[in-house]
């Protein structure tokens, strides 16, 4: 019986990629029930990318999927064109896009009946929303720009939200406020993009009340969109906001990595019968200084006095094993005036310091197609680059086997050796044209 593991390691397998759109009805403004497949129009699939914390702590980038489609028949023309796939529907903008990708196992039974199974069980690789210009050209091709679903939070001013309480709200309350936001006529504003179900909002409950989030006219609300508020709250809670491959919005701790290993990767000179050898290239491995901070400074009061800061730092001492002495101080400055009190600021500074002050290696590598890895998944990597003798070939020989005399040193060196080393995924990229994956991962304690 085929599995994702057996197909991922198989040396000749069939893969599939499918693309779908969901249009909005003119009559209700809501999405149609069924997905419309557009796979046969795709000329270039582009790259799906999701990432957290890869370039700076608590900063999140929304990568764009660029789908290049053939437009010979005008299917991607404006909705006013009767040849358009959107003719009779609402705008092409903010249509949902779904990408499915995986392995397929096909076999013809002795009874003449084909058995066809797709893997993984949930073949959804990405759900996003069309956002950006859709321009026609004389090449009869159109590029559809698809953003993660969190884009819809960018497109709504926080000031227009309702449901504030005068004493302030918690971060999770704010997310629930978004989830339950309506247009005033019981039509949800954000839920339709997330499968129209509350189960696609995976929110960890928080306890800190942000007193500044108490009214739509609060100064930090007026000029912010919902995504900016989410980012600020994520920073305060040391959380990550992201959308899973199946379109579930997650707002939870960035440090809560499951103990279960989601996937094991094997490279040169390592062997595993279950996962096979899938590493194509290790781009780089080592301590990433830019993600290391020995001093975390959280400014949580608007006035610029010493008491406005909560600082946690490592002590510098002139010693060979002192990280600060060896690396110099690296300072992470966080400015967040929503943090309500010293206790919360101290806790946040300590949490970030505990995570950022540990010297951790980062690994960036490329593999053949692995369809089911998520952000923050725990993975293990085994790799053993070719042996290398640091000395002359003369030194290889043991001149006196079985004797201690004349025993020449046969020391070897490896540039890169990892044995079931644990990491968490910070960035996962699937190149749908090359059907290969790129990962940036951060070391965990094994």
């Amino acid at each position: 019986m085929a599995t994702v593991k057996s197909l991922s390691k198989a040396n000749k397998t069939k893969v599939f990629r499918r693309a779908y759109v969901k249009r909005r009805l003119v009559s209700t403004g809501l999405f149609e029930t069924d997905w419309q497949e557009i796979s046969e129009d795709i000329k270039r699939w582009g790259t799906i990318k999701s990432e957290v914390d890869t370039f700076r702590a608590s900063k999140f980038r929304l990568s764009t999927l660029m789908l290049k489609v053939a437009n010979d028949d005008g299917r991607y023309n404006p909705e006013t064109d009767d040849a358009s796939l959107w003719f009779g529907y609402a705008s092409r903008e903010r249509s949902l896009v779904k990408i499915e990708a995986g392995y397929v196992d096909e076999s013809l039974g002795a009874d003449g009946i084909w058995v066809r199974n797709e893997f993984p069980t949930d073949t959804t690789a990405y759900v996003g929303v069309m956002s950006g210009e859709i321009l026609l050209n004389d090449q009869n091709s159109v590029t559809l720009r698809v953003k993660p679903l969190t884009q819809v939070f960018r497109e709504f001013p926080a000031q227009l939200l309702t449901g504030w309480t005068s004493t302030g709200i918690t971060a999770s309350d704010f997310i629930f406020m978004l989830r339950d936001m309506t247009d005033g006529s019981s039509n949800y504003l954000f839920r339709p993009f997330f499968g129209d179900t509350t189960s696609n909002w995976n929110v960890s409950t928080t306890t800190v009340t942000y007193s500044d989030l108490n009214t739509s006219s609060a100064k930090d609300i007026i000029d912010a969109n919902c995504w900016q508020v989410i980012q600020k709250l994520a920073e305060s809670e040391n959380f990550v906001p992201y959308v899973s491959r199946s379109g579930v919005f997650n707002f939870g701790s960035k440090t809560s990595v499951t103990a279960t290993t989601a996937w094991e990767f094997y490279g040169i000179n390592t062997y595993n019968t279950e996962y096979g050898n899938t590493i194509k290239k290790i781009k780089n491995f080592g301590f990433k200084k830019t993600n290391y901070y020995s001093r975390v400074s959280v400014r949580y009061v608007d006035t610029d006095t010493e008491t406005s800061y909560s600082i946690v730092e490592a002590t510098m001492a002139v010693a060979g094993d002192n990280a600060v002495w060896n690396l110099g101080h690296r300072i992470l400055n966080i400015e967040n005036f929503w943090i309500p009190n010293t206790v919360t600021a101290d806790a946040l500074a300590q949490t970030i310091f505990d995570d950022a002050s540990v010297i951790r290696n980062h690994l960036e590598f490329t593999t053949s197609f692995i369809p089911q890895i998520e952000i923050l998944d725990r993975i293990e990597v085994s790799y053993d680059s070719a042996d290398k003798s640091p000395q002359s070939r003369w030194d290889f020989n043991n001149w006196s086997p079985g004797s201690d005399e004349l025993y020449w040193d046969d020391s070897r060196g490896d540039s890169l050796v990892m044995s079931s080393k644990a990491f968490k995924i910070l960035s996962a990229k699937i190149n749908l044209d090359k059907m290969e994956c790129d990962y940036i991962v951060r070391e965990l304690d094994n």
């Binding site: 069939k14 002795a110 084909w114 050898n277 590493i279 790799y383 290969e436």
Partner: protein, 258 residues
């Protein structure tokens, strides 16, 4: 070598099956791995039926079923079992009523019949008492038959596989296959003007055509592919210094996406 029009069976509302209605669309999915199969008809004494209702009167002279496991089956039109097709080429039977078929694909040629529906009654299967399965059904009309055949060296059929090759770190290769497509290059020479002009009309088609190089009701090579003719039309080239030598040139066919 035949150039056919489009498959007249192409929408879900046209088909009626007595089981597994959810996969009835597979009957016109050109990837035969997407196969419709019956459910609860794994008995050679139980007949399962598939009916294609075209919704209006259509003309049909070519019918094909691919990727099937049928031994005893009958194909008839307009709901009358005696309305079988009279085959115009050598076959195991003279009509579309098979009793001991061992092929997994059959291509049937017959004189044009005006009809509104075609039914396939399936009785027994190659392996006795199996569910009935059909990978693809084609119903259509001949557009042009190229009787001026190329030399063996002038016909280059290729099953071109779209694949992605991964070079793994240890130097090994891993292949991810996307899909297989049929392409062919056909070089012709000494064609008459009439042949050339007929091929020009195929070239000028705005719709794709279905290409069947060697369609036979038994021992068929199972090549029936929806194709386009890309690039140039070079069949206006004279074959020799004498105009009586006719024309030469090449036909290129490339399969369309599913």
């Amino acid at each position: 070598m035949e150039f056919l029009g489009l498959n007249l069976f192409n929408t879900s509302t046209q088909s009626t099956v007595d089981s597994n209605t959810a996969t009835a669309t597979y009957l016109y999915n050109r990837d035969i791995v997407f196969q419709w199969s019956s459910d609860g008809y794994d008995n050679d004494l139980t007949t399962s039926s598939v009916t294609i209702n075209f919704g209006s009167t259509v003309e049909v002279n070519r019918f094909a079923i691919l990727g099937h496991n049928l031994k005893d089956f009958t194909i008839f039109y307009d709901g009358t079992t005696s309305n079988t097709f009279s085959l115009t080429t050598t076959a195991a039977t003279t009509t579309s009523d098979f009793s001991a078929n061992s092929d997994t694909s059959n291509y049937l040629r017959f004189d044009t019949v005006t009809l509104t529906s075609i039914t396939i009654d399936m009785q027994s299967t190659h392996v006795a008492d199996s569910e009935k399965g059909i990978g693809y059904v084609f119903a259509g009309e001949l557009d042009y038959e190229l009787t001026h055949l190329p030399a063996a060296s002038g016909y280059k059929p290729v099953f071109d596989v779209k694949e992605i090759k991964h070079l793994i770190g240890d130097g090994g290769s891993r292949i991810h296959t996307i899909q297989e497509k049929f392409n062919a290059m056909i070089k012709l020479t000494n064609m008459t003007k009439a042949v050339r002009d007929s091929l020009k009309s195929v070239f000028d088609r705005k719709d794709p055509f279905n290409f069947v190089p060697f369609g036979t009701s038994t021992g068929w090579d199972e090549v029936l592919r929806e194709c386009v003719w890309p690039g140039k039309f070079d069949l206006y080239t004279f074959a020799d210094n004498s105009i009586d030598a006719g024309y030469k040139g090449s036909i290129k066919v490339e399969e369309t996406p599913f």
